[in-house]
Amino acid sequence: MNAILKDTSAMNDTTNFLDMRAVTKQFGDFTALDAVDFSVSKGEVVAMIGPSGSGKSTLLRCINMLELIDAGSITFKGEVLGTEMRGTRCVRLLKKTLDQQRRHFGMVFQGFHLFPHYSALDNVLAGPCIVGRKRKRDVMERGRYLLSRVGLADRMHHYPAELSGGQKQRVAIARALAMDPEVMLFDEPTSALDPELVNEVLDVIKELALAGTTMVVVTHEMEFARKVASRVVLMDGGRIVDEGAPAYIFNGGGTERCKRFLSSLRT
């Protein structure tokens, strides 16, 4: 019986793809993540929801090590991220190795964080050219393709200051895609946008989802979570309090805490 259980768990894709075990993150005395177990399988679209301060952004930032975890482990395709064993002590990896491991992930921020001194195209090419050491003329075509994929082929030579919020966020998505990440992480990608610009960004994310990109999206857009996500995760107080298919979460199947959160959004 045990052997059978072990077998199925080994075959389960989640253990081979992104897997977080007992991840703890503290900011001073505040525990942002409290021994969180979380995994993502290939091609999955996970929507993270929850009240502000519940740790969902922190969890996302821990995945690509923008925040370094204090305890626990993260593995990606069997590779331990961020730490190694030295004898019996677990120590953080060299910065250089961290930089290499971060390339598995593409990140899109709430505040865009485009490079203001580069044009839209140069922002997209920043990854391949500065990090990948490729020549600009060799990757130009790919930059153009990525910008056209987010519907901004005609804004290529504009500086971020000349773009609207929605356009900036779409350039940021193209910039993240330029490094060919295996997982895309979205940290409240539409929270800083004017309401009428939200959909142009969500449409791009939706298209990525249809193309089979593995994604983790922290969002407050419940409609988006319901339609696009393959799994919804609710966080509260640094813990995952509920998770399941959107149909389960949004059609009243969740825990009490989940129902309370969803009803607070409706009022």
Partner: protein, 313 residues
């Protein structure tokens, strides 16, 4: 109704959008000869009565300047003109410029290193940077120059003993290193280094943290992040205070007179010590300081314009 319309126009964006001039710039057809008439009368700033007072004051200042400076025989403008391009003055000016350029270059290098120390992860480096800045801030530059010049009295030989081996890694006579000139360059550079380090640090930390996170997220190394993303943005913030510091430095070169190095101000002092034309010769020095500072300020505004690219205002 009337008030409502004015409130609307108080918003500059609305005001300029409603003005035909900008409409023409946006590419609306503008037939030559057919000037577009604004729909409603253009609104002007309200004239202030106090403006007339200030214009009157300006007149008073101009009159005083002409009377007390230009037509004042005691300024002795003929002597000023005679000494303005005097050979000794030129040599002094050359020395001032040489001193400024060398100690600025060295000082900015110090500044970068110390700023890097101040922002380092390592506690030893951080403390070292902090202590350096503390000492520089606490010491008057005059005292610093004198200390350096008389260093040989304090430390006659500079050497690094190798314990147990009974030998020295190097051993130099201090007086070989410290001349009037090198003491001046090193002293001024140390001073600039301490102050510019804080300016660099301020500029770097003023760049949005998100920029560094965005770089990290695409796997960029810290060095490339600094070089390609942080520095181009920090330079814009750094230029005004740094230009200030460099111009101060240019005038601080006159402090080296205490260790007897002959630069511009010392030169004119030496000249008026013999011919007693104190005021005209000080004026000569001031005119040169003024001229070169103006050049530096022009260069500053050109630089500022260059680095304004893509910046939201």
């Amino acid at each position: 109704m009337d008030i409502e319309a004015r409130k609307d126009l108080q918003d500059p964006a609305v005001f300029f959008a409603e003005t035909p001039l900008t409409r023409r710039h946006k590419g609306e057809p503008n037939r030559p000869g057919a000037r577009q008439q604004p729909a409603s009368p253009r609104i002007h700033a309200r004239p202030k009565k106090s403006d007339w007072f200030w214009y009157a004051m300006l007149l008073v200042v101009v009159v005083l300047f002409v009377e007390l400076v230009i037509y004042n025989p005691r300024w002795q403008w003929d002597i000023v003109a005679h000494y303005l391009f005097n050979k000794r003055v030129m040599k002094g000016l050359g020395n001032t410029l040489l001193l400024t350029v060398l100690s600025s270059a060295l000082g900015l290098c110090f500044g970068v290193v110390i700023a890097a120390c101040r922002m380092a992860d390592n506690a030893v480096l951080r403390t070292a940077g902090y202590v350096y800045i503390w000492i520089i801030r606490a010491t008057p530059p005059l005292a610093m120059l004198l200390f350096l010049f008389f260093l040989s009295a304090l430390i006659p030989r500079i050497y690094l003993p190798l314990p147990l081996l009974h030998a020295n890694l190097f051993d130099i006579d201090t007086n070989q290193v410290i001349s009037r000139f090198s003491a001046a360059v090193i002293g001024l550079a140390m001073y600039l280094g301490g102050y510019s380090a804080e300016i660099f640090r301020g500029g770097v930390s003023a760049v949005d943290r998100g920029q560094r996170e965005a770089c990290k997220a695409i796997g960029m190394s810290d060095f490339r992040t600094m070089w390609h993303v942080v520095m181009p943005q920090a330079v814009r913030i750094i230029i005004p205070p740094l230009a200030n510091e460099l111009i101060t430095m240019f005038k601080n070169t006159s402090l080296v007179t205490v260790i007897g190095y002959v630069e511009l101000l010392t030169t004119v002092q030496l000249i008026y010590a013999t011919n007693f034309e104190t005021i005209p010769l000080l004026t000569v020095a001031c005119i040169w300081y003024l001229a070169l500072t103006s050049l530096a300020m022009a260069a500053q505004s050109l630089l500022e314009r260059h680095f304004r690219k893509g910046v939201q205002t």
